[in-house]
């Protein structure tokens, strides 16, 4: 099941209002960063999504350790204060106790799904892993003693730097980097306490280096898909995805699509091949890759190039795109978008697309039309900004999201090449791959 959630409480924006107004949201993520604790204005939201939807509290524990002047109102929250006062970052026992306090606080606020989360895992460090273990065990214990009716998600945060790591020791097959593998081994570990008690993962990706953007780095995307696949399919747990930076819901759909169809395996092989180090003298068994230096974005890769790789495990492209999109969208992947500047129109398009897919009424044509409509919207918004806003001093950065949407759209088309086989001639302005 794919859900569209909007985040509230982290910076200004009216995405939640716009989404609610258009009735296209399935839930919300409420963040404490700039909110006063224990205010009642969340109650209505929580209640709105309590029965049909998902309301999550993002504890933002991945920010533990940041400088005080960037903490916003976080220090005012009791669980956060407890974590800082007890120096929980160096003490798993204290971290576990703070986690239990955090869960109780979420339940008292009215959340039916509560999140226990560890610190940011920027690589592989023992103390971070120990704290995550403590949080997971504490969450399982808490559910046993307090929350039979409450769903408990484990919030895990990973940096894009970690997601960028790939192992090239075995070029014949896409290898998982040792750090990423250890991280996955750890968070999927079944134990007596966690085996049956935890209900899902809330996966946060922290884009710690803006030079490597999601659509422009196959390694990050391939590993992200791998993580989603491992958590959702292999471990049979629902995954909710969050971003601390802006990427679009279409990119998430692309990820879900690729996971559902198995194309993520092919993408891993592609990324392995592209980023594998070659000897300058050409002594490597395979010729040096020109692409390694060019860093072409994924959306510029054609299906022919994908097919030219000898990908043994890459499943054939699906014959019926409606089946695969339906599978992707009704699968176990919950997509969440922290849209920094969304509009009801975009959300509405997405919502309809998903509804059609779920009803399995969607063929190639309607998907293409919908994507074209999104593309048209982006063009129109871009034109409007160029003609009416920028000349009067509006900062260009305010409209950067349009470019992100464009890239995400291209990414989706690159990963779902069935959509590119026929030029629909809508004049969307997007170059067909």
């Amino acid at each position: 099941m794919t859900l569209v959630l909007a985040q509230d409480g982290y910076g200004p924006g009216r995405k939640l209002d716009a989404g609610l107004e258009a009735q296209v949201l399935d839930g919300c993520v409420l963040s404490p960063h700039y909110r006063q604790p224990l205010r009642n204005d969340w109650k209505e939201l929580i209640q709105t999504f309590k029965d049909a939807g998902l309301a999550l509290f993002d504890p933002e524990t991945q920010l533990l350790g940041i400088p005080k002047d960037r903490m916003g109102r976080l220090r005012e929250w009791p669980y956060w204060k407890q974590m800082l006062d007890e120096d929980a970052l160096t003490n798993p026992l204290a971290y576990a106790q703070s986690t239990q306090a955090l869960l109780t606080q979420q339940r008292d606020m009215g959340f039916s799904t509560v999140v226990a989360s560890g610190p940011l895992i920027s690589g592989w460090r023992d103390y971070e892993a120990a704290l995550l273990d403590a949080a997971i065990d504490a969450a399982a214990q808490w559910k046993k003693s307090h929350g039979a009716e409450t769903f408990v998600y484990v919030g895990v945060a990973i940096t894009s730097g970690t997601l960028r790591q790939m192992s090239f020791s075995a070029p014949a097959q896409p290898e998982v980097d040792a750090g990423l593998a250890s991280w996955l081994d750890r968070i999927t570990r079944p134990s007596r306490t966690t085996k049956r008690r935890l209900d899902g993962f809330y996966l946060m990706v922290d884009w710690d280096d803006p030079r490597y953007e999601l659509p422009r780095d196959e390694r990050v995307l391939a590993n992200l898909m791998y993580v989603i696949y491992t958590l959702s399919v292999s471990n049979d747990m629902p995954v909710t995805l969050g971003y601390t930076g802006l990427w679009s819901v279409l990119a998430m759909a692309a990820g879900a699509h690729a996971v559902a169809t198995g194309w993520h395996v092919g993408l891993r092989r592609l990324a392995t091949e592209k980023y594998r180090r070659h000897y300058p003298d050409g002594s490597h068994p395979q010729a040096p890759s020109r692409r390694m230096w060019l860093q072409e974005p994924l959306c510029e890769l054609t299906q022919t190039e994908l097919n030219s790789l000898d990908v043994k495990r890459m499943p054939p492209p699906p014959s019926d795109v409606s089946d695969t999109v339906a599978a992707a969208m009704s699968g176990r992947i919950d997509a969440i978008s922290h849209l920094s500047d969304p509009t009801a129109e975009v959300l509405h398009n997405w919502h309809e697309l998903r509804a059609l897919a779920q009803e399995r009424k969607l063929g190639v044509g309607p998907i293409r039309d919908r994507l074209a409509a999104l593309s048209d919207y982006i063009d129109e918004a871009q034109r409007f900004a160029e003609d009416n806003l920028l000349p009067y001093g509006a900062p260009r950065g305010r409209f950067m999201h349009l470019q992100k949407w464009r890239e995400a759209l291209d990414l989706f088309r690159a990963i779902a090449p069935d959509l590119n086989t026929v030029d629909n001639g809508t004049g969307s302005g997007t170059e067909s791959t």
């Binding site: 097959q173 593998a181 996955l184 081994d185 570990r189 007596r192 491992t230 471990n235 049979d236």
Partner: protein, 295 residues
């Protein structure tokens, strides 16, 4: 002081304990001797563990006693039809020839071990073995113990397949017990890659390590040879097989004799990274039940 490494004679044991009769020596090795006996009127395997006088004479006596207590604790807390059970008999000690032994009694399983069976086994029989051992491992994993020594020699058939010898079963909660020094616990050729990871101090793993070992056992049952034999060579020793397990991702082409429906299951069991395997015994058991008809 003279070191006595010989097991106490059967008649000494029968004389020492009134509730033990018909004692017959079966086997011995390391610190342990096994006798077949009638204990409290029930056929049992009586196990005596020799406790060294000091560290110079063998393993640390405290460790030996800790292992003895742990094995009893594991068997008394983890129960399944397919996991060997304790006999209702209070564990006790005996001194023979100036040597201390501690003892406990398990049910005696009168059947051959998988290591003594003709290989390859009938595929359906291997699937049943897998399901039975899943049930035994489930009982252990439920209490957060890992068996750590799943191998053909520790699987015995008596109307059903029974997992025996949880002597090195382990729980992270009890990690204060010293392990076997520089060697990772378990049997070479059957340990999972993470079991051999020195940097994790040989203890940073979970039940998925047992599933890897079970994967090797199942592959042996299906194909008749070790799944890493094609990589390590036909005359491979346990150590070279273990080296292959650590270094190489297993590929089904190494075992062309596997029945087709079993390949996806074994491929998933024998992955080098734990997160790529089945997460629980329940998942594996369900997968095996799914192919029972096909094989």
């Amino acid at each position: 002081m003279r070191i006595n490494r010989e097991s106490p004679p059967a008649n000494v044991i029968a004389r020492e304990w009134d509730d033990v009769t018909d004692v017959e020596y079966v086997a011995g090795g390391g610190q342990k001797s096994v006798y077949r006996a009638v204990v409290n009127g029930r056929d049992a395997a009586l196990k005596l563990v020799r406790v060294p006088h000091d560290e110079e004479e063998g393993p640390d006596p405290e460790d030996v006693l800790a292992y003895w207590r742990r094995e009893i604790r594991v068997l008394s807390t983890c129960q399944a039809d397919t996991l060997v059970r304790l006999v209702d008999w209070a564990p006790r000690a005996i001194v023979h020839d100036n040597q201390l032994y501690v003892a406990y009694a398990e049910e005696f399983i009168d059947g051959p071990s998988m290591a003594e069976m003709d290989l390859p086994m009938a595929p359906s029989e291997v699937v049943k073995l897998g399901i039975d051992i899943c049930s035994a491992l489930s009982a252990l994993h439920e209490k957060d113990y890992q068996h750590r020594d799943v191998k053909p020699g520790n699987i015995v058939y008596d109307q059903r397949y029974v997992l025996i010898d949880p002597g090195i079963a382990y729980s992270r909660e009890e990690s204060n017990i010293t392990d076997t020094g520089c060697m990772p616990p378990g049997t070479s050729g059957f340990r999972s890659p993470e079991q051999c990871d020195y940097w994790s101090r040989y203890d940073d793993f979970d039940g998925r390590a047992d599933l890897f070992s079970l994967g090797i056992v199942l592959a042996i049952g299906f194909a008749g040879y070790h799944p890493y034999e094609a990589i390590a060579g036909p005359h491979a020793t346990g150590r070279s097989l273990q080296a292959a397990i650590i270094r190489v991702e297993w590929d089904p082409s190494c075992c062309p004799d596997l029945p087709a429906p079993t390949v996806p299951i074994l491929s998933r069991l024998l992955r080098r990274h734990a997160h790529q395997r089945y997460r629980t015994t329940d998942q594996l058991s369900t997968a095996l039940e799914g192919i029972l008809r096909e094989v």
